[in-house]
Symmetry: C2
Subunit: 352 residues, 2 copies
DNA sequence: TCAGGAAATGTAAGCGCTTTCAACGACGAG
DNA sequence: CTCGTCGTTGAAAGCGCTTACATTTCCTGA
């Protein structure tokens, strides 16, 4: 056994025990609030903790209990509200479960090393869809969020096909005849699913959907599409964009060039970012339950760590259509009114 | 010493050593890439690791080296680009330093418990200004970012007074005579400093600044101010808002009510959020070096953990004025053009 | 052929905590 | 007065890793 209660600088459970005049077992008991401890011993321990400014070593505890009490989250980046919401949902739920969160941002760097480091520090990991390929040897429980997961790995995603169908049908019902889908269907499973819905809506009316316009999903990519439209390189009276960022960029560029949205061309997107309700016309979009996505992921990790079997079927969360002016709908005058912006439920769309 | 190389389920360094036919010391050496190891031993270890699907225990390592190799970050929330940028800057730099990041979001919950849990799992902590009060007994190195720090604690912040002065002077130079500062100066040190700059600009012209209009910094709070303006309860021809969110909400409400921005009233804000360059007129604002703020924080934590003494003087990072149309400046037609939005440097403002 | 040293590897002592198990004292019942 | 109980407490065995130090192996030159 140990003699010194204070090796070098650090204050350990030994120092506390010594100062409180009890054994380390008792200190541990009062700190963990486990087992029975006399009021007197408890008080002395607490005092010693206070006086010594004791901070327990999480590592030592983790080692002893063989659990990190921490979940990992791997995201590609953090721009826009999407990832933030996901992160908040995840962190909040994890916190409620008494778990910490270690974050790993993809960025451009090679994830292999950071990923395995992360794996050694947490009990389970939630990985964003596009990064699923980086998943190493599968030792820790893992869930993939918003994207396809390798076989055997659990996935949680937002509904895409149906809402894309609904959104597209809405545009068609407005009398639009030449719709274009803007987004790289090969870049992310989500985008592909949205294009599927786009296609299905056309088929339901006996129409044939145009090929997707493959572009990345950033502002500059939207500008490019707008330029092609203005140049006559592309023709359309309705644009279904894979996200709001692209949709907004297109809308801004077209409007600046003198075109009218939605009269000349309708534009809709995905995500319901804050800007969507500030621009004129307001951007019609699909709101995703991103917060719940994150929370659900944390929940599932917790269950998996607890020994629950991975689910074979994908967890799919419902989305919500948000109709504003950019699709051709009439719009209320005063929009942003407080925290809860005007949200129209997805009711039968008005004919043009 | 230990007999079994595989206690129960988990694969440990013992299982690997056994399988590779070497000692655990050798396994550790190849995994840490420290000391000398024969090519043959290295190969065997690597194979064993692969075959056994070995994931090291971060806790055990941390305990042995007496370091977590992880820094903590405590933020109040994650809405808007401000906190995200900060987080990204922090995480990126920490990653470069080979450190992981544990995140703690303030939210509404009581931080005392989560905070000390965090403290037990990391080597040092970065706390956002408004949350500085939650800092417990100061055992770990700490830096406070964007806000006041208790004495003895290092602080890193963006410049506020000078830029507020400049922004206000800019409005005054436009010929505005009745400026109002919108924001709760008691809520955050940053806001107070901005009001100081607001005041100083007035004094420099021999004017007297109005009392600040105390409101929170969310959309709904902006709406309230706009309503008061419309009702005649408040009178102004220029509004200096503590952040873009409030500024945008005010602008939208006023415009919807038929007022003209900037002709009837100029509106400026802080943060340069994405929406700021999408609305018409574009919002004049102050861009903060949030990313660097986070990166600097990570750097300082690293140095502190390395034994460097805390700095007595505050680290102050420079900000940048972004002139658009909402202050009365003439604006270029085509704004959002790609990733780099039109940014005007802070040159002598045109007279009205 | 052998001493001496460098290179490679193994041994074992912790790191700071949790938790089982045994020991202890006080106390009421028999 | 003795024994069984219950409430408290302490001793000690790990948890899985790093690393100083000891030991073995392998060359090299004399």
């Amino acid at each position: 056994m140990r003699v010194s209660g204070n090796t070098g600088r650090g204050v350990t459970i030994y120092s506390v025990a010594e100062r409180a005049g009890v054994s380390i077992a008792t200190v541990s008991r009062v700190l963990q609030d486990s087992g029975v401890v006399s009021a007197r011993a408890r008080r002395q321990v607490l005092e010693a903790v206070e006086e010594l400014d004791y901070v327990p070593s999480g590592a030592a505890r983790s080692l002893a209990v063989r659990q990190h009490d921490t979940y990992g989250l791997v995201l590609p980046e953090l721009s826009g509200p999407y990832y933030s919401e996901l992160l908040v949902g995840f962190e909040t739920r994890a916190g409620e479960l008494g778990r910490g969160v270690m974050l790993l941002l993809g960025g451009a760097r090679d994830l292999a090393k950071p990923f395995s480091t992360l794996a050694s520090r947490v009990d389970a990991i939630c990985v964003f869809g596009g990064l699923a390929a980086h998943i190493g040897r599968g030792t820790r429980p893992i869930v993939v969020v918003a994207g396809g997961a390798p076989p055997g790995v659990e996935a949680i995603t937002a509904e895409n096909v149906d809402s894309a169908d609904e959104l597209t049908e809405h545009l068609l019902a407005h009398g639009r005849t030449r719709l274009l889908f803007v987004g790289d269907t090969t870049a992310a499973p989500d985008v592909l699913e949205r294009y599927e819905g786009f296609t299905r809506a056309h088929e339901n009316r006996g129409l044939r959907a145009a090929e997707p316009v493959h572009v990345e999903f950033r502002e500059r990519d939207g500008i490019v599409v707008a330029e092609r439209l203005l140049a006559g390189d592309l023709a359309a009276d309705g644009l279904v964009c894979c996200n709001d960022e692209v949709a907004l960029a297109i809308m801004a560029r077209l409007t600046d060039a003198g075109m009218d949205v939605p009269d000349d061309v309708a534009v809709v997107g995905w995500d319901d970012v804050m800007t969507a309700r500030y621009v004129r016309p307001g951007l019609t979009t699909v709101r995703q339950p991103v917060h719940q996505l994150g929370a659900r992921a944390a929940d599932r990790l917790h269950e998996l760590v607890g020994g629950a079997p991975p689910r074979a079927t994908r967890n799919v969360l419902p989305t919500e259509l948000v109709l504003r002016g950019s699709c051709g709908c009439e719009e209320h005058a005063a929009r942003p009114q407080g925290a809860t912006s005007q949200t129209y439920l997805s009711t039968p769309p008005p004919r043009k």
